[in-house]
Every structure is written in structure tokens, then in C-alpha cells.
Symmetry: D2
Subunit: 340 residues, 4 copies
């Protein structure tokens, strides 16, 4: 039974904890920490955890009662427990983003390089979604030839919060496509551009420009457009269509009954992401647990993937000002991540 | 320019006349006849026909100003103009059914046999529908292997008239599947059975049992169920699914925009048959015209097909009383129809 | 942690054990029994169970180390452990069928009635499938009106074994629809009929008549046709379409990538049932475990459902001889099962 | 019977002539002209036209035996017969493009303005396609709210000719979307940009950059990306998806049988455009004929639409060099075209 220390006890911590308690095998949460001790107490109570509240992040990470660490704290607080975990040679699962600055991402990468080992898995759960996996496999087997172009939709019916503003369209929405596209296309980013389309009059937030279109070009020339809105009204709609040299492969709609009624032949589309990615959240964590139990490095998105996402997101947000394409410059990829 | 004599000027005559005037090539209506002369006058006026009203069916059929005959009169009045046309060696298109009794159908067949030539085309327009044609071709090329089973839906949103009663479900609805199934399956009928399913409380007609399921077995063993309702509410829905030894082939829905809206991904389905079979009505008549112009026998459904439909329909109506399967006994097929 | 005693260690026992070990929460297998002790040893070894081999069914059922029983033995050996479990007031999950004779089913029902409590859950896993559940909910909320007709396909690409013969089409295939149809339609069976369609020349088994069509009529008049084949070639295809007074609801295809390639727009269909019902197998067992842990009677299919399935299956097999409809006579439903 | 004079007797002239002879009503070709008299003779022979060969364009246009003119000559030869027809106050249908230079387009517009009447219809047939019409209507009725973004695919399986080079991707492919997008979006163009995606290694033409993505921004902010390839391999695939404030509307696939076979559920996609737009070609010409017969100005795409297409296409080709967005400057729209 893998003993997990949980850092940060907010909404996403509840999602992971519920999965660990109700669905996943082989792990239990033994220590929790939150800057607000009430949050720590609440998560123990809500899920009847047999866990203690650690006095500090450092205590939690280094406790003999903790084998691996889950980082669900505020985005700018990820770096501390991650670095501590690397130092302690313990596997660490961090929610996306890896960190909020390139500097912090580079610190994490440098720490792993120094230890000569990978410990970090970043919570880009889409890579575990069975349909993205089918898409990856379809591309890799050459069934549609080399991928040349892509078209993605990342639509939510309504904004998650009132505080969802223009840069959140990148940091909280497009970030998922950033991680997915270079993985699917087996290529590095050459440039990123964000443009604002005609504004949706149903968008009630003055600080949110909606919709936006993010365009990336890859080193080998492929171009992918991602259409982004938080005000789609009709439902939660995530699509990815990859156009290759001799065919197209596209994510399916989630299965629902086919209904004939009142002049329509239809199936429903969900209002939010819960159903769409519930399985992916479970699979990513189970995979993290399984590798940790086997004393293997995590198999999921690495610190280097986290760094790439941070760089592209930074430049995408920069592009929101000019709406011009920005050339991407990445640090050199360390050997440690090339083997993967 | 083929000169057509039109016998019977009701609703279906208007459909054909509108097509001849507005869409088809190579024919004009030169003479019309109806037992109600007002109906004859009206159709001339409505479509600005340069046509005369014939004093009798016989005059119309034998007029030197008439090359071919369209029979759109009441079902029990088809036989007279058809026999006259055969005698006059003129091509004759008759709306379904060929006749209302087996005796009349046999008279027509005997008349053609006597002349040693086919002149009759029966208005089973579905054979001209591009999708039924694709289905026929798919079966005939062996793509799904020998056809073993079938499932059809023949649903209208609401009854065409208040006088649509239990036997009409056979004579006006199932009659289409009767003609199509033996054509698609390249086989003869062995038995027919009609059963009544749970009654639809939205059916307002006490003399209509709705829905019904008609089951036919073919000589080679294939079984096809046709689900019949005149109260589907949601739309006009005709489907045909053929299950073969190694696959299924099925008619598509008619194409409509795919819409994402208000929690649904949908396309519309039409309320009535107009759009679904408009093209088939044009194609069957154009084909009749073209063959007549080339002095060729009609290529569409024959008098023998009309006789088969009459026999099966009679027995299906008989089965409505007992809900038991009834064995089909057909007269021997004359040589004239075997060559086809 | 619920302690489970497993009776019978064959193929389906492996499926359940793998789920309990790898996916489900709150239960462990503590005792196993098989008439062949090698099978019992093998399952312990394969899944590294911390379980003992019980010397007899009775010892296993009554062991203080067993809270609930799983019956995965041969069909005709279900009745003994089930009756023992009822006597011991322990929850018992039995694979379908409940028993192989009506007499045995009645014994089980009588035993529960005598105890005044339900202990038995029968392994009709389709009721736990999310899509059948959506279908049930759609019908029950009245969205399509009262259900009037149904059309099901139960197709496997090829027979599971060389010993799959004509009656297996009922006992191993149609049995699933038998359980599902009366549940979906909220109605009892009035009659059952099995007919043989044109035989598939690709069927290599002389003792298997394939395909067959099973027709049930319900007390309120609804008719459902189930098309059955073990030689569909193209894939595993289970469909259920329910036609109500104002609409149709139909199970979706399983989601797969939409591919455009080589003149086709397609998605794949699986070759076997593994993917289609994997989740249902997990959900039925988790639900059994959860209710057992809470000292509640099972919520899944009851012994009475098992008895109904046995009666219909018996009559369906009888109908295979005559191909005629057979009227269903059920014993009176005890009060115990009416409350559910 | 409308008497048509045909200028230019190449491939597209054959398409229109075949339609006029075989499918359309109310018109006949009475005069033909081609710089190569052999081509003129051939079209008369091929379709058994009762038509004379005119000695010059001017003779043809001004012949009392010609009521309206069809211009199917080389693109740079459209302007002469169009100007002659306007001068003669005869309706003129011109194949796209209206002319090859902005100057020529302006001459045509100026000629109509001078006469105070519209005579020209440009052959953008997609506006007559039933599905684009549904799309237009869906947008105009507000069902999906204001249109904000669009995504189009214009894919052919293989290049039409060996001479299909980089600029042809605009002039012969994207030109259709140019006409459609401003019509659908009820808006004017603000900028156009063409980018080259990763090149398709299956493209055998060194002078063709393939694929390309053309991006237009509209005055009200909407952005539409059109993905263009002449080497899609899998089929002819034209799609248009419009994303509005509360929903999406998208062109359907053309209807084909749904087939289950060999592990796939599929429908076919055509190899070329013939089937996709056959009806649109007929409808545009019938509409031109009907308006001409009624002495009404054409209802289809105007000379002004032709001018807009020429301007956008010119700038798109310019953008192929820089791959940068180019701002669109249109002449002021004359009153004559605003009323439409």
C-alpha cells in the first residue's frame, strides 16, 4: 500500500482524493498539508482518511510515513514541494502547471538532472484519455500518414468562475492542447499566435475576451488551430482532428443514446467536463501509483513537458497583446528527457 | 416529344404532372380524362397544359395524339385503361396498386403474355430511389454476403387522412416494402404475417390498429420484419437494414445540417415524405418516358411485380384477422417476366 | 473489507477476481472452492490471493471468514451454494443462470420467501451498463412515451466455442435480452417464439442453426424482435432500439475515432465483448459489495428475475423445435419481490 | 423557350450544356462561339444542339436569336462578352471568376451601374447547394446566434491537372469559400492570410505547395480558417462549420449506405465533386433561366460578388509570398448592389 502525502487540499485535491478512496487501488493518503489547516481537516473528515496533518511541507515530504507526494496547492506554490520531493528521491505528482515561471520550471528540471533521475509527473490527464490514446496510436502507426494540420475545439458551456479572464483562456484551457499537440505530432513548437475572433455578446465578463483562436506551428511545418470559448452555451465540447497525408483522425463524441423525437435525431452532449475526463483522472493517478509502487520513474508527462507547456503558455499570453505570432525559443533538452 | 394521355386527375396525378411540366424532359401531356370533368379541367388550368379532355378512356388510349398512358385513377379503375393500352400496344405507367384483385392482375398479365410483350410499368418509385439502388447494388455485388434477415421501419408522423384504417397499413404503407423486399433479396415470398403491437394511445382513429409488425419469410429462408406506424409523431422515417452473411447495409438518414445547440447534437428529420422520395418520383417517370421514346419496353416494376404485390397484400390483410402467418401461393411466372 | 468466498474457479471467476483485485474497492477473496482443487490453487496463484481453499461448499459458506459468496461454478451447480447462503443469511452473487431448472429456481425463491429477505443477486450485468441505464431512464421518464416495439441485435463475430449449439443461442446469448426486455419495458412476458432465418453459409458448426430471430410479446402488447447470430464476421454488435409512442431511443455504438481514409468515413467496431461490457461487470460487482458491506439486500437482478429468465429460456428452446409462439405461464410473484 | 448563346465550348460548357439538354426546363442553346471552331462544332454534335456557330462574340450577343448569354470561355476572356451583353441589355451568366483583374471587374460593375440595372450572374454554384442554403438560413434565423468563427475544409483527392500550382489553390479552390464566407457571415472582408502547413510528401507537383491554410477576418471580427489540399487521397471532402454565439451548424456528409463490415462501421465518401455539387450546377442555371424568362435581373451572385472574390483572391495570392495577413481595401459599393 503506497503512502501518499497530499500538499494542498482544494478542489482538485478533492477530485484526486475521491478517486484514491473510491476507485483506485494500492494507495492511501497518510499525511496532508494545507496553509489553511481548516482545509486539511475538512478533506480528512470528508473522505474519512486515516491521515495526519503535517506541520510543514518539509515534514510531510520527508516523513517515513510518506512514499510519494501529490501537489495540489496553488500554482505558484508547486515548486517548493516538488523540489523537496526530488531531493528526497520520492515520486511526486504535480497538478498542472508545473510552475508559474520558466525559472521555477528550470529549477525543477535542473534538480532532476542533478539527481540523474526523473521523479515528477505533471497532471496533464488527457494523455491518459482512451480517445487521445487511440489518436496517438493511429498517428504513430502511420495510418493517416505524417500529421500536417490540426483543428481543435476547447469549448465550455460557461466560465468556471467569475474570475476567468483573458489569460485564463491560455493557462486553464489552451494549456491542455499545448501539452497534447506536441505529444500527438511528435514535434516541437516553432511559434504560437493568439487571435481574438468576433466577441460573443453572451459573455458577461468584461475582463474576458471570448472567443479566441490559438495557432501553433511546429518545427516540421504542421499548423494546428485551437478554437477556444468559455461561453459555448450548448455544452462541453472538446475535439481534436488531425489531418495527415492520406486521412483524418478525430476524437469521437462521448456516447449517448440516439434519440428520434420531435423532428430531431439527436444525442445529448454533456454540460461540463466531469464525464468526459473522469476516467483520464483515474488512469493518470493509478499509473502514478503503480510506477511508484514498483520503484519506477513515472511514465506520464515529465517536468520537461511541464517546462514546454510553461514556455508556450507564456508566449501565448504575450501574443494576446499583439495578436501576432511569436517565435518559440526553448532551452536545450537535457539528455535525461530524451531517453523517454 | 412523347405525347402522354393522363387517366385520373387527383392528387398523385398532380404530382406527376408537376414533375413532367417542371422537371422532366421529353414529354408533354396532350390528353386528360377523369370521370369528374372538373378535375380534368383543373389540372389543365393548374399546369397550363396544352391538352384536350378526352371523351372516354378508350378515346384517350387510342388517340393518335397519345403515345403513352399514365394511369392515376382510383385503384379499382386501373385495369380498364391498362388493358386498353396493352391492346393498343402503347406503354402504360400505372400508379400502384396494379389492380385491386388478383383476377384483375391476372387479366393484365395474361394480356401482356398474349401480346408477347411488356407494356406496363407499376409506380413503385422506391426502386428508383438512389439509396435503395445503392442497397440493391451492395447486395448484388456480394459485399455483405447472401442476405439473411432484414429490418424495415415505415413510419409517418401522422396518418395521411382520417380514413386511414387498419387495412390501409398494408395497401398504402407496407405495399412499398412488399415490392422492395423481393427485389432486394432476389427471392420469392414464402409467407406473410401481420401482428399488432402495443397500441399507441396517441392514435386518434378507432378504426386504425397502430402500430403493426409485418413479417415475411422468403423461399430461401430470409426473414424480414417491417415495423409500421402512422403515428410516429417525430417525423417521416423510412429505413431498411439488410443483414447478410458478413455484414449489414442500411439506408442512410436524409442529409441535414449537423447542429450543436442547447445540450444536443442533432440533425432534423422531415415531417413527411415529400423530400425523401421527390427524386424517386421524378426518376421513375423520366425512365418511363425515355424507354417509351426509344420504343423499348419499360425497365421498371412489371405487371408481374404488381401481381406479386397484390397477392402478398391480400394475404397480409387476411393475416390482420388471425395474426398468424399465411403461406403464399403464386401462379406460375410466365416466361415473359423471367427474362427480366 | 468484505470477505468473499468464491465457489467455482473457471473463466468467469477469473474475470470477477481480476476486477476485485485490480479495480474494485472494499472486498477481498478469503476462501475459494472448486471441485477440481487445481483450479482453486491456480486462481490463488494467478492473483496472489491471501485466500484458503475450503474443504467443501458448506464449509466455505459457513466460515466466519466469509461475509458473502460468489457463485461461479457450473450452471447446474449454482443451486447448492445459493441455498446454503440463504440459510446462512449471507449475500450471494450468482452468475447467470440462477439455476438450470424451474424447480431449482423455485427452491431458491421459496428459500428467500421463507426467510422473508432477499440475499441473491444474479449476474445479469447489462443492467449496470451505463447505456442500458440511460435507456431505462429515458423510457421511465416518458420521453418517448410508452414503449410499443423493440428491435435488438445480439451478434458476435464468431462462436465462443466449438460447442456453441442451437440451444446455446438462447441460454448464452438471448438470455441477456430476456432479462433486459422485461426490465426496460416494465412488463411481463406473454409469449416467446424463435424462428430460424436463412442460414449463414459461413457457419461451420452443423449443430448450430444460425441466425435465429426471437420474438417476445409482453402482457401490454409490446413486441420485441431480437436478431441473434454467432457468425456476424464483422464484429461484436449489441444493439437495443425501443420504439415508443412518440419517439425512438437506441443504444449508441461504442466510441471510436472517426477516420477518413481510402474512400471511407468510418469508426471501428470491436471484435468481442470485452470492451463493450467491461465496465458493467465491474459496476455490478461493486454494487453487490457495497450493499453487502452496508448489510443491505442486493439491489441488482433478484432470484425472481433469475426464475423469469429460466422460464422464458426454457420456452424459447422449446420453440426452436416448432418455431411457433409459446404462451408463458409464470408462478405467482411472491410479495417479497413486488416491493422491489 | 429562352434562347441561349454560348461563348466558349470547353469542359465547363459541356457540363452546363448537358444540364440544359437533359435536366433543365425552358431554355435551348441557339448559338455557340469558340475561338477554336472545332470545339464549337463538337459541342453541337455531342448534344445534338439545333444551334448555329456565330462568326463573332459580338454577332452572338446581338443576334435576335439569342435572349441570354452563357460565358464559359477562358478566364481572361470573360470580360468581352459580359460587357457586350450588358450593353445589349441581355442577361449573362459567367463562369467564375468574373474576370482576372480588378480593373476588368470594375469595368463590368461600372457598365451595370451606367445602365442602372444588373444583368450578370457569376457561377458560384455553392450558393445554390441545398446544404449551404440550409446553413445560410440557420444563421439568418439566429438559431446559433451571431456567427463568430468558421472552419472549412476544401479537399480534393488529387489535383485536377498537372498544371495545378500554388496560386491555383486560391483561384480554383479557395475562390469558392471566398464567395461563400461573406455571404454566410453577412459581412465584409477585413484581411486575408495564407500559410503553408507541413508539406504532403504524396504531392508529386514541385510547383504546388500543399496543404495551405487560408484565414480571413471579417469587419465584425469573425475569423474563418479554410484548410486546403489537392492531395487528400481519401476523397473529395468539402465541409463548412460555423460557430455562433450559442451553437454550431455544419454541412453534412453526403448520404451513403451505412455499412457494417470487416471490423468497421462506415459510409463511403466520393472521390470527386461530381455528385457533391451536381444539383447546385443545375439549380444555379435553372434559376438564371427562370429569371431571364421573367425579364427579371438574376438572383444569384452579382458582378459585385465577382469583384469581391477577385480582390480577395488577388490578396490571398499575394499573401502566399509572405504568409502574412493582408488588409483588404475594397472600392465603395455602388448603390445598385446595396439593394440586393
Amino acid at each position: 500500500m503506497l503512502k501518499l502525502g497530499l500538499v494542498g487540499c482544494g478542489a482538485i485535491a478533492h477530485t484526486h482524493t475521491a478517486n484514491i478512496v473510491n476507485h483506485l487501488k494500492g494507495a492511501q493518503i497518510t499525511q496532508v498539508y494545507d496553509v489553511f489547516s481548516a482545509a486539511a481537516k475538512k478533506i480528512i473528515r470528508d473522505y474519512k482518511l486515516k491521515a495526519e496533518i503535517a506541520p510543514s511541507i518539509d515534514d510531510l515530504v520527508n516523513s517515513p510515513d510518506v512514499d510519494a507526494i501529490l501537489v495540489c496547492s496553488r500554482n505558484d506554490a508547486h515548486v517548493e514541494p516538488i523540489l523537496a520531493a526530488i531531493k528526497a528521491h520520492k515520486p511526486v505528482f504535480s497538478e498542472k502547471p508545473l510552475a508559474t515561471t520558466l525559472t521555477d520550471c528550470q529549477k525543477i528540471v535542473a534538480a532532476e538532472v542533478k539527481e540523474g533521475q526523473r521523479f515528477v509527473q505533471v497532471g496533464f490527464m488527457r494523455r491518459y484519455d482512451p480517445f487521445y490514446q487511440q489518436l496517438k496510436e493511429t498517428i504513430d502507426t502511420g495510418k493517416i500518414g505524417q500529421p500536417l494540420m490540426g483543428y481543435c475545439r476547447h469549448f465550455t458551456a460557461e466560465p468556471a468562475t467569475n474570475y476567468f479572464e483573458t489569460p485564463n483562456m491560455i493557462n486553464d484551457a489552451f494549456i491542455h492542447e499545448i501539452d497534447i499537440i506536441h505529444w500527438l505530432f511528435n514535434d516541437d513548437y516553432n511559434s504560437v499566435q493568439v487571435q481574438f475572433a468576433r466577441q460573443n455578446s453572451l459573455n458577461k465578463n468584461e475582463n474576458l475576451t471570448d472567443p479566441q483562436i490559438a495557432t501553433v506551428k511546429m518545427k516540421h511545418g504542421a499548423i494546428v488551430n485551437t478554437y477556444l470559448t468559455q461561453n459555448a452555451q450548448y455544452g462541453y465540447d472538446v475535439k481534436c482532428q488531425v489531418i495527415g497525408e492520406k486521412g483524418i483522425a478525430e476524437l469521437p463524441d462521448m456516447p449517448k443514446l440516439e434519440i428520434h423525437q420531435a423532428g430531431k435525431i439527436y444525442h445529448e452532449i454533456d454540460h461540463d467536463w466531469t464525464y468526459r475526463f473522469a476516467e483520464a483522472y483515474q488512469l493518470e493517478m493509478q499509473d502514478f501509483i503503480d510506477h511508484a509502487q514498483n520503484n519506477e520513474a513515472p511514465a506520464g508527462p515529465t517536468a520537461w513537458d511541464g517546462l514546454i507547456a510553461a514556455v508556450i503558455a507564456d508566449n501565448a499570453i504575450k501574443s494576446q497583446s499583439s495578436q501576432q505570432a511569436i517565435k518559440i525559443e526553448l532551452p536545450e533538452q537535457p539528455q535525461l528527457y530524451q531517453s523517454k
